[in-house]
């Protein structure tokens, strides 16, 4: 095991119950404090991998270790505290009647109550700039605000690693930039699944490319984005006019 790693995945293999194999031996290590982008075409197995990180799916073969703790049934509660997944659609993540209750849901499941719980909720909302909206119902917020609250719902559990699934999708340019500011300010170990390559370059010094259930490239984001052959082989394309060498 790699000392000090926030996340370690070793030869992870997974097939869905219908026989469709999604992961064919995934290996990766994320050091504490690192921000890593996970890139790859649709159907590459990115979401399947993410759902292994907190034990929603259990490995058929291989191991997932979060900050030294293997993802096995006995540790699920602690694993789910350590791995905070922000899902793509905030409407899937925010289901309680008010923002405050939603942010409290995770820490309350961990057994926190009273003043300690209130403090957690307040701190999490503060860190995403949504403290003033605590008593509003989630569906009255803008999409960007909902995504920020979705991030707060997992931050309130004080995770070791933050997993963001398509954090920039459906955001207008200002909300996209605001969310990037928040990710930078949090300064946490982060795994960011995204198709937004400029966003990956902006936020993550390191990138992994996944395709057909394997990690096919791992390196500095700028170098990966500049490697035309690698990009083309994995259905990755930069937006028109975007040059990673000049950013």
């Amino acid at each position: 095991m790699t000392a000090g790693a926030a996340l370690e995945v070793r030869s992870l293999v997974f097939a869905y119950p219908d026989g469709h194999q999604a992961l064919f031996g995934v290996d990766l290590v994320v050091a504490r404090g690192q921000r890593v982008a996970l890139l790859g075409p649709n159907g590459a197995g990115k979401t399947t991998l993410v759902l292994h990180l907190n034990g929603i799916y259990t490995a058929a073969h291989g191991d997932v270790v979060v900050a030294g703790l293997p993802v096995v049934k006995e540790h699920l509660r602690e694993i789910r505290r350590r791995v905070g997944i922000v899902f793509q659609d905030p409407d899937d993540q925010l289901f309680m009647p008010t923002v405050r209750d939603d942010v409290a849901f995770g820490p309350a499941n961990l057994g926190l109550r009273g003043a300690e719980l209130d403090a957690r909720v307040a701190a999490a909302l503060e860190s995403v700039g949504m403290a003033d909206h605590a008593d509003r119902p989630p569906h009255h917020l803008s999409f960007g605000q909902r995504r920020r609250v979705a991030a707060a719902t997992v931050l309130a559990m004080e995770p070791e690693i933050l997993v963001l699934d398509e954090p920039s999708s459906n955001l207008d340019p200002a909300a996209r930039r605001e969310f990037a500011d928040i990710v930078r300010a949090l300064d946490m170990t982060t795994l960011m699944v995204t198709h937004d390559l400029p966003y990956a370059l902006e936020l993550c010094p390191r990138a992994l490319v996944m395709n057909e259930g394997r990690i096919v490239a791992d390196g500095p984001t700028r170098e990966i984005l500049a490697d035309g052959a690698l990009m083309a082989a994995n259905r990755l394309e930069l937006p028109f006019g975007f040059d990673p060498a000049r950013c």
Binding site: R80, V83, D89, Q93, D101, A104, N109, H139, H140, V154
Partner: protein, 256 residues
Amino acid sequence: MSGAHSLSTSLFVPGTSPIHRLAPECKLVATVLFVFAVVSTPREAIWAYACYAAILAALIGIARLPFRAVLRRLVIELPFLAFAFFLPIVGRGERVDVLGMSLSVAGLWGAWNILVKGTLGVAASIVMSSTTPVPEILHGLEHLRLPKVFVSICAFMVRYADVVTGEMRRTRIACESRGHNPRWIWQARAVASSAGALFIRSYERGERVYLAMVSRGYAGAMPVLGHRRATRGDWSWALGVPALAGAVSLVAWTVG
């Protein structure tokens, strides 16, 4: 997403009146007891109904609810009253002439009974729902020990009503954009299949919501979150209203 028309705020009228500030469980209990008092009053005691209406008018005044808005919301009971209007026409027994129509006396009393009790009951729940935001009503139900699964179902319904109606609206717009203009029964096929698609999508969303819940440590029970509990003062304030109504009903029985 239209905030103004969403389910959870369309009924609530913001305010700081003593009624707004009461704990939600007190208002729920008081409303139900008030309705019991009203429905148990003999229909011939017309003065008693005037007393109930006066109590409600006072509450509406204290809560500073716009009177016209309350009247507008009463419209919701109209479909239920349609039945009441038939009673005097189809009723049997002794008949009287009203505006040239021969109406049944028993039917008239029956119609009056439904009309007055329905209207007062709806008005009471309008006072409750106009002064209590939906999330608070849910907490009130929780404090009243309603089974958690029911409260959760209500909470999810409130939360996702807007999401699902939003999806429905987008589906309809997409249909209309392709020239679909459902007017006749034989065009129902497209409506039915889009309803089916909506059901599947909502079901899939349910699965994603469940995944997100499990990811945050959900293990089968919703956590009970600390919210303001009712004080003795809240209860005595709130229960004073149905107590007054109960007294009226009692007098109506003994006098009548």
